[in-house]
Every structure is written in C-alpha cells, then in structure tokens.
Amino acid sequence: MSHIEEISIEVRDVDALREACNELGCDLIQQPHYKWFGEIIGDGGPLPAGFTAADMGQCSYAIKVRGANAETYEVGVVQRRDGKPGFVLMWDSWQGGYGLQAVVGEKCGKLVQSYATQVAIKQARRQGFAVQQKRLANGKIQLTMSKG
C-alpha cells in the first residue's frame, strides 16, 4: 500500500445520483420544491454555507421515496452557494422525516454511500479498471478496482 486518502463526497453527478436513488427505492424528480415541515423552529442545526431559512423547501430536484405515504418528507437537491460546483442535500429530519430517514439513512448517509459507489464505478471503468463490488458485514461497500 502506498497511500491512503480520506475523501469528502461532493454531489456533482446528477445521473449517478439518479442511479443511487433508484438503488434505494427512490425517484429523483426535477421540481422546484421538496416536502418538509414548512417552517424552521430552530432545532435543525446549521444550514449549508450561503443558505438562509428562507431557502428551505426550494430545490433543483427532489428525492421522493417510492410508495411513501403522504406525510413522508423529501430530500432537496440544491445548487451549492459556496462557489464550488455541484449540489447540497437538504432535508427535514423531524421524526425521521416520517419514513425518509429509514430509506436514505441518517443524514442521508446511505444515499451518499450509494452515490459515491456509482461515481467511483463509473470513473474507474472510464480509466480502464475492472471493478468488483462487495457489501461488508459492517455495512461498508468495498470496491476493488484493478488493472494491469
């Protein structure tokens, strides 16, 4: 082994995000609003850089759980405002989003995991790597990429 990197995932590839949503049983829909409580009551933690309370509920895409009931909240996919390309994910975590968290994970962790998997496989193949995917007992997805 020659080097080990920790990477902070940044959502930039909409096609990969669509595939990730599909893997989790969700749909990525291009629409200007996502479902949430409707007002901030001060318990949601800090907003992403460049966002204010007035921005909640607005998005470029919404992620909807397939077959969800009318109460279930949605994830908003919103253009970043910190000068970097790509999107931030925004959602209302109150009461687990009434079923949303069970699907996309706490803090959208499962969604990000699935997204990163899609991006990595796509890029690795583009670079000529063969890719093997495995789900480990601890819940991690392991991709082994090899060539030569």
Binding site: E5, I7, K110, Q113, G139
Partner: protein, 63 residues
C-alpha cells in the same frame, strides 16, 4: 497489477487505498477517482511510498 480499494460506510465516509504500487506514481493512479468523488480531506503516505521515492533519488545521485 495496479489496485485501488475504496470503502464507503453508511455515513458516506470514504477511504481510498492504493495497493501494490510503490512510489509517488500511486497518486496519479487514484487522482481521477478521488477528484470525481469529491475533495481529499487527508492523504497518508505509507513507508512504501517513501521507500521507492528515496531509491529513485539515490539512483539519480549515483549517475
């Protein structure tokens, strides 16, 4: 054989390891993938990375 192992946990935390490729060239190998994923938060070079870089310097010095 050049190999990269990527592990992504259920919080989205991601670790990339380059295996079996000694020396500074390993960064070139993984660059495309790490850039496609996002931004590198930390990058730990192992003794294998430095050992081969040092051998390269010694080879240059003796020529």
């Amino acid at each position: 054989m050049q190999k990269i192992i990527l592990e992504i946990d259920e919080t989205g935390a991601t670790e990339l390891k380059v295996v079996g490729h000694a020396g500074p060239g390993c960064q070139k190998l993984s660059e495309g993938i790490s850039q496609a994923l996002g931004s590198t938060v930390s990058d730990r070079k192992t003794s294998e990375f430095h050992a081969n870089a040092k051998q390269g310097q010694q080879a240059k010095a003796s020529n």
